[in-house]
Amino acid sequence: MSKPRFAYYLAGGCAGCDTSLIDTSEKLVKFLENVELMFFAPTVADFKYKDLEALPDQSVDFGFFSGNVRNSEHEHMAKLMRRKCKTLIAFGICASLGGIKGLVNLFPQKELLKKAYVETPSTDNPEGVLPSPKVTVEGKYELDLPVLKPAKALDQVVEVDYYVGGCPPSYNHIKWILEKLLSGDLPPKGSWLTMGKAVCDVCPRNPIRHGGIKKRPTEVKRVLGQMPEDVCLLEAGYLCLGPVTQGDCSAACLRVNVPCRGCGGPIPGVRDFGVKAISTIATAMGSVDVLKKIPDPIHLFYRYSLPKSSVIKPKE
């Protein structure tokens, strides 16, 4: 039997997903021995874009797409990857839900650019020049840049077969995924590739796992000062999003005493992570009023999924 063909592309991400893939070390080496690597850019290997383009459509078995879609180049590549790959996997929370980098959608592009290229105190730009898609330097050198757009999750551009949460997915989770791919043991299309537990289910602090009950938090606390060990952080008022987040990270943050911020993606059945997180926290606190006490709820509830929010629309 011929080996399955594999492709990987990083778009508007930070390469943390790639790094995490590399962190699977020996597992990755084994995986690569078992697949035919067709494309991997722009990291790790010097594969050529034209190599991907030259492949027949639908000839790659598994394509991983990491990072969100933020400009014209990413968009082009998303479409190309979709065309070439039988199974396209949104790898990491940027590709799945837009990621932290999706927070750009809180502001119009113009304001984002003005801040970075004109207004910051170290910038020397009295003429207010902005980077521009087409520029002629010294009247003769023509140069162009990709056009910026509001951030999108991959499935807002092309159809996606599977989603993987995590910023980045933990290397143990990736090892599990690589095995699933090789054995062909995959859930129905459209699913998240997850071990199916919430962060709370794998959290060593969960009182229910120790036969106790979760108490209602009575105040809203920020991550300042000495962090409590052992107790449930949500109970203690730290607004941990563990109850609504996939726990393929083994509750990594809770093990170092900080609350979950939701990078794992939503537990099954949830369409809008932010809405679910808000209702869960409000219910836990026993009142919607508590939401008013949360400083900056958008950066908390939609930190990783703003582009997929059904209530907040991107500014152009």
Partner: protein
Amino acid sequence: MKKLVVEPITRLEGHGKITVFLDDKGNVEDAFLQVVEFMGYEKFLQGMPMEEVPRTASTICGVCRAVHFTASLKAADQIFSAEPPPAAKKIRELLLLAHHIEDHTEVLYALGLPDFICGPTAPPQERNLMGVAKKLGKEIVKDILKKRFSAARIVEILGGKPVHPAAAVPGGWAKRVTEEEKEEIERLSDDLIELGKVSVELFKEVVLKNPEYSKLLKEESFNVVTNYMGTVDENKKVTYYDGTQVVVSPEGKEIIRFTGKEYLNVLAEKTLPWSYAKFPYLKEVGWKGLKDGKDTSLCSVGPLGRLNVSEGYSTPLAQKAYEEMVEFFGGKPIYNVFAYHWARAIEVLNQAELIKEILKSPEFTDENVVTPPRKVTGEGIGIIEAPRGTLIHHYWTDEEGLVTDANLIVPTTINNGSIQVSVKKAAKYFIKNGEVDEGTLNLIEMAHRPYDLCLACATHVYPGHYPTNVVIYKGGKKVKELRNY
């Protein structure tokens, strides 16, 4: 007039690109390295509680994430006026050192050294980690990767996750280190000392002992003469987490010393419309354009910048390696771009030795890891040395500690001008009479790789592998196409 243009095709994929323009004789007139992505953190962090920023800002780059994390955390200390207790400082410093090692290793073995190990004009398909494995042996490379993971594992133990660390608390650290964890770190750190030694030796073996390559190290065309910046301790030795920022002139004379907010008197950034990365320069000299030489206003940072501003390293093995290197070049400052890789290898050794020193300190496992916040000051600046050079995070907040404004200057941006000069020099050196082939293309690329190949922070791309795509036009007609990806 016939014009020959070397121009990359765009709108494909890629996060950075080089365009070289040729005159009608086919010689280089100008060259541009463009950064083609833009993130906008300075704006979209607005509104966020400052204590949440480190976990968020680390995603500026997944390769050098721990540095954005640490720099913004230092700024958060000031905003909540809480000086971290000794144990927390040591934990942060150790995390930063381990992160440097893991990052430097990746740059050396996966990205920089393949040019030398596999040959600068080897086909691009072979010039990578796989090619290195073929040349040096699979076992050696596996061993290097395993030792590199030891560094990543240390980041995981201390920060909760190996990629984006989580354990940030202003004024300290969210978790103390247990004795068992310390023992594991101790075991892992033995690997790192070995890794440092191997890296320095390998550089000497592969580059210095090869006459063709050691010639490149002494080649004028690969000298980029600029000011240099780095962070030093009270003995003028290279340091990473905390210290004083020093700038030396192209002649190597100390011209500026600064800490914290004073950076605003030292650096300014020019916006040019053809790149999403700005072009920092020394305010004192004033903007002189993208030129190197005696009166340049450009400033370079990174392993070579640190080496040039300092009097070496505070640890014995690294210091010895440093002396050898300075002797090879016959003194300082060292301008050769490939010297970055050498300094990088020495730093791995230095950082591993520094980790060993921290582990000796009994404070490391102390239970007190947080100073409670006092009043909100509304402003904080964190400056640290990232693998790629000096990194500055500056935040303003309201009285609740919610971010109202931010200013970030990342090392790859500081190097932006120097990289342009380096690429142009290499292009001029290698392209003569319009003759260009794939090998030439890589030689040009080799001139930016030592800066860490990485427009990581400026472009959030994995170091060095942003694709370069070159198309040659003659009289407006495409005659040749070259791609390195």
